[in-house]
Amino acid sequence: MNTRPEVLHALIVCFSAIFTGNMVLSLFLGLCSFIAVSRQVKTAVGLGAAVTFVTACTTVLNWMVYKWVLVPLRIEYLRYILFIIVIAAFVQFVEMVLERYSPVLYQNLGIFLPLITVNCAILGAALFMVIRDYTLVTTLGWGLGSGLGWFLAIVAMAGIRMRLANERIPRGLQGPGITIIIAGIMALAFIGFSGVLAGS
């Protein structure tokens, strides 16, 4: 696709996934848990870290499943089902480990931990990887970057919402309402990043 060395390409893709093509603020994926868990920085960091970990690992796993199983057997159309299966199994695994080694975080995340499975940002990352036909190393950069972009967005939102905690917000806009408005303003701000990387 290009003549740059692979690792450099992976780094560029990673950088662009965080800033110029942010999962939440440019591609508008993964908004449910973004709105719901962005109340406090501590839980946002916990969920963001979990999503980053899951995204990075599952995009790589999904690349392997796609290139080594689906393409040779010419059943690429099954990628939607198979990617979700891989993501679900992986999230289940993360849940198990979290419950054992950090029960407080596990309880704090509550229902949002299994909800990572249906976070469309993660499936979206896997599908974009297919559309853009990334190599394995690039996929790692892409997965890591997508996750970190989501992490950045939710932690920034949590920071803003914590500052707003003592402000008087009209009753109809409290909660999700004001969050979406803030997300929109953040998205506008991120448009400023576009064009930073030539050709991305």
């Binding site: 057997l73 010419r74 059943i75 199994a89 289940q92 695994f93 407080v104 309880q107």
Partner: protein, 367 residues
């Protein structure tokens, strides 16, 4: 055709492989090994397989910590002091613990998992709580939606309890419920009856246990109960008593009255029993008998809204209003309250306003 089969097979194989990996991971990650639970500095010790909640682990070892919500973290009955091995305080525990309890390492045993050796402290009385297998001997309809069930003790065939205590009735899995639950009911019978005891149960619309009791339980059925639990009992003093109860709250008061008769107590006592309508009152004859046999006892039934044609000549309105009409200063009295939380809170507010000290108010809140 071949492609379809191949594709289905591939997806299934990959899903199965992932499931297998998860099962193995679960065995490895969630294996906490053998953990030791030390109760009350060595009075009892168990070695169990870790991974389950503290409450489940203790109940499995026949140490019956009370619980009314089935591990959902809403009733707060299962509080236990965990001095070692409890892990960090969980967000599901915080709403039910106050600052003093948190300082003393009190935890909700239904929320913490046993992952390492644990040392706990529980009231000594809990160590003598046992499970009793009983047979339903008699069912009496006391009022609409209120039944008195008499249980004959089978194994063990005798039970010691302090009048005022309650039992936990085990509701088995049945058509309308997919899990076993325990519900608490005060013992209402005469403690002189050594081989049997009675509970008064009021039907709660949609309630798991009461629906089972009213629609399925018959004379001759075998049931399991554990107990006795509870700190509600007569104080040792001679102070005059004000008893206030509503609904099935009559049960422990009746038991206290039996005890007073058996010990020929000369304490003055007045029992205010509240009901919505005249037909909600029950055990009126029993109470009139007590008025004759006890030294100084008065039964004051209070009906909120007497129905047409009932010809009610007694007190009306809320039971707390009736108490207010009778007493000005209650600083020398003791109060025994049993009934719905709203009634108890209102009574406590009223009594403290009229001079009663909080340490002289004893109550059993049914929630």
């Amino acid at each position: 055709m071949l492609m379809t089969i191949l594709s289905i097979l591939t997806v299934s194989l990959i899903a199965a492989a992932l499931a297998a990996v998860l099962v193995v991971a679960d065995r490895v990650v969630s294996d906490y090994g053998q953990c030791e639970i030390d109760v009350n500095e060595g009075q009892r010790t168990f070695v169990i397989k870790g991974g389950r909640t503290l409450l489940d682990s203790l109940i499995e070892q026949k140490l019956f910590i009370p619980s009314a919500c089935g591990g959902r973290g809403t009733c707060g009955y299962c509080k236990v002091r965990v001095t070692e091995g409890g892990g960090p305080l969980l967000p599901t525990e915080e709403p039910l613990l106050d600052k003093k309890e948190i300082e003393q390492s009190v935890r909700l045993s239904c929320q913490i998992k046993v992952k390492q050796n644990v040392r706990i402290r529980i009231p000594d009385a809990l160590l003598s709580v046992r499970e009793y297998v009983c047979e339903v001997a008699e069912i009496v309809e006391l009022a609409r939606n209120v039944r008195q069930i008499q249980f004959k003790l089978v194994d063990p065939d005798r039970m010691k309890f302090i009048p005022g205590q309650y039992m936990q009735l085990l509701t088995p899995i049945y058509e309308k419920s997919t899990e076993e639950v325990y519900r608490a009911y005060s013992i209402s019978s005469d403690p002189e009856m050594k081989d049997r005891f009675e509970l008064i149960i009021k039907l709660v619309p949609g309630g798991i246990c009461t629906t089972w009791v009213f629609e399925y339980l018959k004379v001759g059925d075998t049931v399991r109960l554990n107990g006795p639990y509870g700190e509600f009992h007569l104080s040792g003093t001679e102070a005059p008593m004000i008893c206030i109860a509503g609904g099935s709250g009559l049960a422990p008061i009746k038991c206290l009255l039996h005890q007073m008769k058996n010990t020929a107590s000369r304490r003055q006592a007045k029992f205010f029993f509240g009901g919505n309508e005249v037909r909600d009152l029950y055990h009126v004859e029993t109470m009139r008998e007590f008025e004759k046999t006890l030294h100084d006892f008065e039964f004051v039934p209070v009906v909120a809204r007497p129905e047409e044609g009932a010809d009610w000549k007694g007190e009306t309105g809320l039971v707390t209003e009736a108490v207010m009409r009778r007493y000005e200063d209650v600083s020398k009295h003791e109060a025994y309250l049993c009934g719905p939380p709203g009634m108890i809170d209102a009574s406590i507010a009223l009594l403290t306003k009229r001079g009663m000290s909080e340490k002289n108010i004893f109550f059993d809140k049914f929630s």
